[in-house]
Symmetry: C2
Subunit: 231 residues, 2 copies
Amino acid sequence: MIEQVRVVLIAPRNPLNIGAAARAMSNFGFTQLRLVNPYAVAFREARSAVNAGAILQGAREYATVADAIADCTLVVGTTAGTHRELQHPLYRLEYGGRLMRKHSGRIALLFGSEKYGLSNEDMTYCHWLMRIPTREEHGSMNLGQSAAVCLYELIRTAPKVKPEPRKQATSEAVERLTKLLEDVLERAGYVHDESTEAKTRRLVRRMRISEHDAEIWAGMLRQILWKIGQG
Amino acid sequence: MIEQVRVVLIAPRNPLNIGAAARAMSNFGFTQLRLVNPYAVAFREARSAVNAGAILQGAREYATVADAIADCTLVVGTTAGTHRELQHPLYRLEYGGRLMRKHSGRIALLFGSEKYGLSNEDMTYCHWLMRIPTREEHGSMNLGQSAAVCLYELIRTAPKVKPEPRKQATSEAVERLTKLLEDVLERAGYVHDESTEAKTRRLVRRMRISEHDAEIWAGMLRQILWKIGQG
């Protein structure tokens, strides 16, 4: 899927934004950057920046949107989507990303210029549009951030598998710890009756302690116990 | 959930990054920004930028991480997570975001300085760490982009409901269109036998055409039919 995507920046004017879009691509493993009619100075500056990588060096320049998307079978436009009557289906990024992942051919992902976004004419080349679910009151995102969020959505994986938890302490270890704590509390003169014992037991269990931490706590409590015995 | 989150930038040095983090917060509806020991000039510049909004004006400054997170019940650190032995559980953003959404108290979300990320000491204040699933070869993200991606994950909603499709054309309308196309092809002298008829029928059905577009096509074909009849 990553290899299928062409990131297309239309008429970008700020070298920092071009660089930021390229950086997000690199972070997430995308490689194919296309620029339509970029502001020449900006493109030159972005390319000559110290940290400009292979993506900017390999970026291709096109005179028109039609040229830039000619070899793609799906063309997706991004928009803040609040300012005009859209003639296209408009999906939230979460859903649009899913559609893109299902597509099997080359995909062009279009970002409009910093100031105006995609023009109505740019949009006529799109199969559909997608918007990042920003607040209505402040919908417009910075170009570099917008690219980062869209590309993240494309490589994001649903967290089906819970990451391996740290090895939990066995009940036996928890019980040993409980006894140790009770001993310490008793020797320390902490009020100790049956209700305290139950409270202590629950207290220790609520720690949901790992095997590793149980050992550390046991060591500490033994040391305290020894110290109290000394006194 | 959005109201629970405090975005904490630790020792940020670049006013553009501070501004970008604030902008992403505004885009996604987060309001509480905290800065630990920021580079004074950078904070001043970010605050006096033309587009600095309420978030930067209301941002609070702290001398230490401990002060900045004192009122929070969950502290989450962000890290590229490749350069050192981590003593903490490290989750991918997709899973960490889910844990954060489940938490019911105040949450501090920590971002380290642009150059060094979170220090080992900063991390000792964290319950766990999370990483954006970037490539190993280029893990480190720009601060503003990293903030945008993390906050997007927090407000992201699973696309359970398919967006309302455009009203599809009825079979009757599709059949009318098919007949029109057949008429045009026949009059135009396009090879016409039973197999062509079946092909045409399937062709039109594969358009999965909307009610609206079916009407437009019908109008076009009627015009073509009229023109052919004239000739």
